[in-house]
Amino acid sequence: MFAPGTAVRVKDDWPETRGPVHIRTPHYLRGMQGTVVRHLGSFRNPEDLAFARPAPLRALYHVRFDQPSVWHEGRAGDELQVEIYEHWLEPL
């Protein structure tokens, strides 16, 4: 479990290059650092639901990212806030 305020990194992993998958972690966040805002609850892993496989519950977090840092452009202070599943997050 990640507490609110925890600094995390989105895994720099690219499963879509290895075979058919269904991933809900946007490409532009892979490898990016962010801060956990809150735990949103636990939900069945869509990566498995998409293939009608048994889908375990996974903790879902709202994670905040500094927007200009993601794109190397943009307005200072602007942010991105995205739902990310626990198995895509690493503590810093």
């Binding site: 879509e16 869509p46 639901l49 293939f51």
Partner: protein
């Protein structure tokens, strides 16, 4: 390298920040849903409510559409293609049944 991947992701539906759409205008005019649209939407909802096909499977089916077709097809035409594809894969309907219905209709 992460920077390059942001302009052209590996999965074509993963559109956040994709360079070739950054200069494209957004058509903000209202577009009423057609009967076709509403029926496709309704069928997806019924299949979901009955536990036959999840929204995740719908999305996966859409994501499997070849890139050129993905952008050429209207939103709900992508849905009907995905629904058909997924239901065939799962054996909920068969190709023979669909071909027969196509010939009749």
């Amino acid at each position: 390298m992460a920077g390059m991947e942001k302009d052209t992701p590996h999965a074509m539906h993963d559109l956040g920040g994709v360079a070739k759409f950054m200069c494209e205008a957004v058509d903000i005019t209202p577009h009423a849903l057609t009967d076709f649209d509403k029926q496709v939407d309704a069928i997806r909802g019924i299949l979901g409510a009955k536990g036959i096909m999840t929204v995740d499977e719908l999305r996966r089916g859409i994501e499997a559409i070849p890139e050129a077709d993905y952008h050429r097809l209207s939103y709900y035409r992508r849905w009907v293609r995905s629904i058909t594809d997924i239901l065939l894969q799962k054996g909920v309907v068969t190709e023979a049944e669909l071909r027969s219905a196509l010939e009749a209709g």
